[in-house]
């Protein structure tokens, strides 16, 4: 019977993978992962520090929940209010701005709702309220979803009343939601980085952008080691320090997709 030997080998190799080098776990958001940012900057940090970074990319809501459960050393997301609450609750040590970009609204290339004519995002959302055009929302408590809800509130529209009709909550990640929007010829809100890096744009394009309200700030937080003894505070802090340092910031700023800068470093000096 060679099978048990095979299995034993498999189990041993499985164990080996997890015990190689010092590493930290970063609970983060899909936009940073899907845009390729981590693939671009992490090797630089690992080479300099000898610390591997394992990114778990989920929605901001889930990332914060995971970090609350102590299942990560660093939290890097984009929902400032939720991040500040995370720190205030003692789950995180302190929060730092790290970079920003902005949200955009994408839609069919002929923009049937005429969102591009709107002056503000509130006006743009008003146009959707008529119900003649479909808007797909993440509906998953992610950073993008939280932002979108805040914008609807600003516009004085409660789209959840129309959930299932012109307002479709996908309950999925950004990419899945974009795929659905494209399949349904619908509008959607996404962060610019994800959109630029997105491979399945079909005929969709950005139909609204540029409102200050669409600002998208990313923050980084060290998970509180006093509350979570498993946290690798030293390594985690090293990663945060690097992100906020000159080197880290310029690495973020240097990342380009299709000639466009996706994230703009804005750590306080």
């Amino acid at each position: 019977m060679r099978l048990p030997i095979l299995a034993a080998t498999l189990i041993i190799t499985a164990a080996r993978v997890s015990a190689a080098e010092p590493f930290i776990i970063v609970q983060s958001t899909t936009s940073t992962q899907n845009s390729g940012l981590y693939d671009s900057i992490l090797p630089e940090f690992t080479a300099a520090s000898g610390i591997a970074v394992r990114v778990v990319a989920v929605g901001t809501g889930q990332a914060i929940m995971n970090a609350r459960n102590c299942d990560g050393d660093v939290l890097l997301v984009h929902a400032k209010a939720a991040e500040e609450k995370f720190v205030a609750d003692g789950a995180g040590v302190s929060r730092s701005d790290i970079m920003y970009n902005d949200f955009v609204i994408v839609g069919p290339h002929d923009d049937p709702a005429g969102l591009s004519d709107a002056k503000t995002v509130s006006k743009a959302f008003d146009k959707l309220e008529s119900g003649d055009f479909v808007f797909t929302s993440r509906g998953d408590d992610s950073g993008t979803h939280k932002k979108e809800m805040a914008l609807w509130q600003m516009a004085g529209v409660d789209p959840t009343q129309a959930s299932g009709t012109w307002y479709r909550e996908t309950g999925s990640g950004m990419g899945a939601t974009l795929n659905i929007a494209i399949g349904m010829n619908a509008y959607a809100m996404t962060d610019r980085a994800t959109w630029i890096a997105f491979g399945n744009k079909a005929d969709h394009k950005i139909v609204f952008e540029g409102d200050n309200a669409l600002f998208n700030q990313y923050g980084v937080i060290l998970v509180n080691g006093e509350r979570c003894p498993s946290v690798k505070a030293e390594e985690g802090q090293a990663f945060i320090d690097w992100l906020l340092s000159e080197t880290g910031q310029s690495a973020i700023g240097a990342y380009r997709r299709q000639g466009q800068q996706l994230f703009f470093p804005n750590a306080r000096k």
């Binding site: 394992r54 459960n69 299942d71 990419g175």
Partner: protein, 235 residues
Amino acid sequence: MLEIGTAFRAAFNLIVGFDPDLVEIIGLSLQVTLTAVFVACLIGFPLGAVLAVGRFPMRGTLVVLVNALMGLPPVVVGLGVYLMLSRAGPLGVLNLLYTPTAMVIAQVILVTPIIAALTRQVIEDMNLEYDELLRSMGAGRLSQMLTLLWDARYALMTAALAGLGRALAEVGAVMIVGGNINHVTRVMTTAIALETSKGELALALGLGIILMALSIALNATLMGFRRTAERLAYA
């Protein structure tokens, strides 16, 4: 719209280019899945035999339960295992979350009911024929189960293959407990999910084609082995 041809070309390029990331992902997929199925067999075969041959209270209920567990949603299993292995969970100290071992655990939970339920069916059918003989020979329950398991070994391979198919194809559980971490816990299915969410549909479909080819190759190999072994050894 995406052309299937593009997907095949993507799959072809990945394979021909012997993409090192792809090799790593396939390797981890096989490692996690085969380990999980092996462990699930170690549990599921005896469990199925006990359910088939054993006579004890609640047996019928257990059979129904195991059959029902075949339909466990992977996401639910993933969430359950996450809650167990999370630092905040009871087994957090083991430090297993976001490791291949966590993925193996989740898949064992998914696959064991399938293997146990199919084993029970196979063994129960065979026992209709064997029961009187083995009892007349004075074989105890344990000896009876071992005889049945051994004689059913080729049929049980089909049960293991069903489990393998499930483990190889599921994404929900390994995504949650593995975290889809590049070079650590990224497997075929989570890579496909990732590429889909990046809108790289051709690449995602290409990976899907490779996964299917892998599954077909595994099945063909094992079924071929079964046929040869059965023919050579016993009718």
